[in-house]
Subunit: 245 residues, 2 copies
C-alpha cells in the first residue's frame, strides 16, 4: 500500500486550507484545464482516482454523470468526502488506486487530478485503467509537470539580482525515480517520469492519445496571483486525455 | 522561402566537419534513436525532409527502400548530396519542406532528422506530411528537444563551484516562438514549441502517436564523449513516430 501522507494531521490541515484558497494553482490553472478536456459526462459512469474530499466527484455529478466512484488512499480524505460530498449516485472507497481491478470493468471515464505522480509504476496503472474502461472510454488526468518533478533537490527558483532574470535550475530530467519535496510542512514522496515515459506507458497499454495541455495563466489570472507569471518559464502541470480505442 | 543558413560558407564548412566527427551527438544519440523508430523500409517510398548531404537517403536505400526522395532548402547541401549519395533510386530537390504538396501523395514513410525546428508553422507542416502519406504511412522525425530550444538567451549551462552541481537554467518554456542561437560561428534561427504543441499539431492533423524517445547515452557512449553526461540533466533531442491511420 502506498504511503498515506493525507492522513498526517498537519499535512491534511494545511492541504485543506490550500484547497480553500480561491487563487490556488489548482483553482486557477489545473482544474479549468482538466474540466475542458473531459468528454461529455451525461449518463456516464465515472471513476475518480485520488478523489480527495470528493469535490471532483460532486462536479462530475453536476455535469450529468449517472454514477461516480471515488477512490483515495487516505481514510481522512474519504471521511471528508462522505461528509462534504455524499450522494446516492456516488460511492467512495479508501483504496490504493493500483488496486482498481477489483472495481470491475464498466467505466466510461476515468479521471484523476494530481494523483498519478504518487504512483511508482505508471505502466501498471495505465494497464489497470485501460482494463476497467469500456471500449471508447476516456482516461483524463493531470499530474505535476515533468519539469517540476525533475530536480532531485526540489524545485527552487533562482533570481539573478544583477541581470534581473529569473530561471529554473533544471537537472536530472532524464533520471526517473523517486523524489522528495518539502511541502506544507511535510516531506512529500513522489515519482519523476519523463514526458516520453508517461506517453509511452499510455501507448503501451493500448491507449490512443487525444490531447495534451500544459496550462499557463492568462493576464487576468496573473493579476489574481502574480507568482503565476513563473508558469511561463516552467509549467506546473501536465494534462493528458487518452482513449481506449 | 526559409532562410538558407546551410548555404553560408562558414557554417557549411563547420557543419560538415561536425558531421564527420565520430563522437558527435548526431552519431551517438540522435541517429541510433531515429533508425530504431523507423518502420520496415523494404520496398517502401521514403521522403526525407531536410536531407542535407543525403546520408539519411543512402541509409534508407540500404534498408531496402524502393525509392527515396530527399528535399533540402540549401542548394549547397543538395549539390553535396548529388555528389556523395547519388543513386538511380534517389531524387534530390532543393525546396522548402513546407512546399512538399507538389511532390504528390504517394509516400509510405516521411522521415526527418533535426530539421523541423527550423519551420515556423509546424501545424501546417504536420498537415502537409499527413496529406502526402499513404493510409497507414509513418512520419518519424527528430528535433531539438523543447528544453533545448526554450531559453531565449540560448542554452548555457551553469556549474556551481561551491556545491559542485551543474544545472540548466530553464526559462521561457511556455513562450513559443523564434529563437536565435550562436552555433558554429553563425546565428541560427529556429522555433521553440512546447511538448504539447508538437503533439497536438500531429493529433490535429489526424496522426496517431506511436512512440516518443528522449535518448540518453549509455555508459560506453559517455566514455566516448564525456560531455554527454549532461544529457541526463537536460536531453538534446526529442523523437516522435506517428502514423496516418
Amino acid at each position: 500500500m502506498q504511503e498515506n501522507l493525507y492522513d498526517d494531521q498537519v499535512f491534511f490541515k494545511n492541504y485543506m486550507e490550500l484547497r480553500e484558497n480561491p487563487v490556488s494553482y489548482n483553482t486557477l490553472l489545473e482544474q479549468p484545464a482538466l474540466q475542458a478536456m473531459l468528454p461529455p459526462l451525461a449518463g456516464k459512469h465515472v471513476l475518480d482516482l485520488g478523489c480527495g474530499f470528493g469535490e471532483g466527484c460532486a462536479g462530475y455529478l453536476r455535469l450529468g454523470a449517472a454514477h461516480v466512484t471515488g477512490v483515495d488512499l487516505s481514510q481522512n480524505m474519504i471521511n471528508e468526502a462522505k461528509k462534504r460530498n455524499a450522494n446516492e449516485r456516488t460511492a467512495y472507497f479508501c483504496m490504493d488506486m493500483t488496486q482498481i481491478a477489483s472495481l470491475g470493468e464498466n467505466y466510461d471515464v476515468v479521471a484523476s487530478s494530481l494523483a498519478v505522480h504518487y504512483i511508482e509504476d505508471f505502466d501498471a496503472l495505465a494497464r489497470s485503467v485501460y482494463a476497467i474502461l469500456k471500449k471508447g472510454g476516456s482516461f483524463v488526468f493531470s499530474q505535476e509537470h515533468p519539469l517540476t518533478t525533475a530536480p532531485k533537490e526540489g524545485p527552487n527558483w533562482v533570481y539573478d539580482e544583477e541581470t534581473h532574470k529569473r530561471f529554473y535550475p533544471l537537472s536530472s530530467y532524464s533520471c526517473p525515480g523517486p523524489r522528495t519535496e518539502e511541502w506544507l510542512e511535510c516531506s512529500v514522496h513522489k515519482y519523476h517520469r519523463t514526458f516520453s515515459q508517461v506517453l509511452n506507458a499510455l501507448l503501451g497499454a493500448g491507449f490512443v492519445i487525444r490531447e495534451l495541455r500544459e496550462p499557463v495563466p492568462d493576464e487576468q489570472t496573473v493579476q489574481k496571483n502574480p507568482r503565476m507569471v513563473k508558469e511561463y518559464d516552467k509549467p506546473s502541470f501536465l494534462l493528458i486525455a487518452a482513449q481506449k480505442p
